[in-house]
Symmetry: none
Subunit: 201 residues, 4 copies
DNA sequence: AATGAATGAGCCTTCATTCAT
DNA sequence: GATGAATGAAGGCTCATTCAT
């Protein structure tokens, strides 16, 4: 009765949806959300404009889907890193993971830097983004808490800011940014950290 | 039939131009460049839409002017800070200056975060932005070079990223961000820095 | 390999076609022709969008079919009412029939009010609608002609307009419109009509 | 200081706004609200699409303006007709006024027939339309009330329906509809009305 | 210098219709 | 007969920019 099997349909849908997401991410990341038109996305994906709306309710919805997917991926990565080793080791792993994630999701990262600066766009994404950020902040801060540092949240903030700033530099010019070396330097700095004598806020 | 002296004319021009820049900055920073219309800027500045084009060739040109003005201001601030005291003292002064500048130019800072992430927009600003960034990076790195640290450029990069990341956090929620305390913590951290044993990249 | 008999096929066709017409009428009448999408019709009918085009050449064609069906029904109703009794009795029967038809075909009636006002749409229906209206007008006027009233066509026009206007009021708010009483009042008015002394145009 | 006088601006605005309203009315009335595009209106008015939005917030707003203007005009006409003469005379005047108004505002009348049938469009007009209709109904019913007829509201309804139905016939084919004669016939019918023996609902 | 009416390209979105299966 | 993914032409609307005055 179904002239195309459900599987075929599923595959076609999957294919189109992916093409849209990939194209949208590339364009959003390169031109910014606002300067990317739906026409461009469709054209880049090799589909018609109209088809995009079979899969996403709006341009905004595409952005949302992109964020959801990437945020989920990142959280999974961090979850997988948790372990029962020493806090210092965990911290090092987290730091390296941040840089690795930035490297692998370069386009999304770039996009998110652009979006973060626009409260209006952010609001359209739902409340999830800040939740996500908090989760990462908590994860990053956990070793500090476990170590018993006096101001773990501030420590986490500083570390997060450092990684964030470096990732942005990387994102803006990946070719010339020595990501690995910088990562090593950061890890080393926190590694050599004398236990609780850190100057704290 | 010459209703104004040349001086009055000049003053009026200055006045209008300034109003435009102030309004544009406020709006760009709050809504983002793309979501701010020329109509809004003119209305906020209390002038007609058409007049804006007497002073600026385009909306893009307003952005450019804003960047030029702010970048110039920041560079001046840093120039004024140079002195013949110890590198460590200079470093501290620079760090504090960065935070102070972020605090005083909050709106511009916010705007620049949004714009920086968009290569396409950045390109439209002329090559000046990266020059400006390099200059700051150099200034920030000078104490490290003077101190003879093994990798002064990497050190500068890390410090810059740290300050940048923290400034962004501040920019996104100035009310709840303890800017002064964080500044103190950063300065302290670099102050207590044992001379050349820093783990380097 | 012929999974269905020709009869079953035929039945399935009838079934689908009817479902489409029923759904389309309901939606057209509630939302108007233009605000009803083919997708809605198909969804309401429980079929796929594509299938609709197996039965109807276009959305417009659905409207046409609806009109044809309903106009035919109404004409049949009126034909069945003709008889050899007195003109006055026939007139009463016709009047009541008009209201009854409006009541039974409420949805179609509503739709037709919307369409009638749009010459462009009317034209697309073929020339049938005005023919149909003329036929009804003739039927309604026949008792006046038989009675020998001086201006039977004008009389018919007036009666038709009256019924039409009342039907519209009814169609717009069926719950609060006392259709039966109004019908009685109209019939009574024409019943008590002294034979040929009517003030005529 | 104002390079064009306020008067000149006012005149230009007036001119453009009027052109838009005139064109919109003509098109809405001929093609229906939905089938008329903003592009068409602008083109017919000899202006650009964008300009329309300097004067009206939306296509819907144009419709609203059209309705407000016409409804106001009609109410004024009726107000001007009130007088202290006999109820029968007033009734005659009202009836004639209805037809005259329909004749003069033919396009608006056609439009309103189309719109009335679409609750969705009607709703967008605000609650004013039904108020307006009620007002007319009341005005039309007043002579019946003054005369002491048993069911003045039903009488008004019937009269209103009659006029409405006739006006629609006229609106659909003004060339071939003998408006004056029909008006005479209707007035005559109500004139010869024996005081309170009317069959009432 | 200053105004604001006017333009027109482009934006996001909808939808009737087609077509491979 | 039946499906639903895919198309592309509009649709309403916004906005940077121009221009007569």
């Amino acid at each position: 009765m179904t002239p195309r099997t459900e599987q075929q349909h599923q595959a076609a849908r999957e294919e189109s949806q992916q093409r849209i997401l990939v194209s949208a991410l590339a364009l959003f990341s390169r031109l910014g959300y606002e300067r990317t038109s739906v026409r461009m996305i469709a054209s880049e994906a090799g589909i018609s404009q109209g088809l995009l709306y079979n899969y996403f309710a709006s341009k905004d919805d595409v952005l949302k889907a992109l964020f959801e997917r990437s945020m989920r991926d990142v959280l999974r990565t961090f979850e997988a890193l948790q372990g029962s080793d020493s806090p210092a080791e965990r911290l090092g792993r987290y730091i390296r993971a941040c840089f690795a994630v930035a490297e692998e999701n370069l386009e999304f990262w770039r996009l998110s830097y652009g979006v973060r600066a626009q409260p209006a766009v952010l609001a359209g994404l739902g409340a999830d983004f800040s939740t996500w950020e908090s989760t990462i902040l908590d994860t990053l801060g956990e070793p500090f808490r476990t170590l018993g540092l006096p101001h773990p949240r501030t420590e986490a903030r500083i570390l997060f800011a450092l990684i964030d700033g470096l990732s942005q530099q990387y994102a803006r010019d990946p070719e010339h940014f020595p990501l690995r070396e910088i990562a090593d330097a950061v890890v080393a700095r926190y590694d050599s950290m004398p236990e609780p004598e850190l100057p704290a806020s």
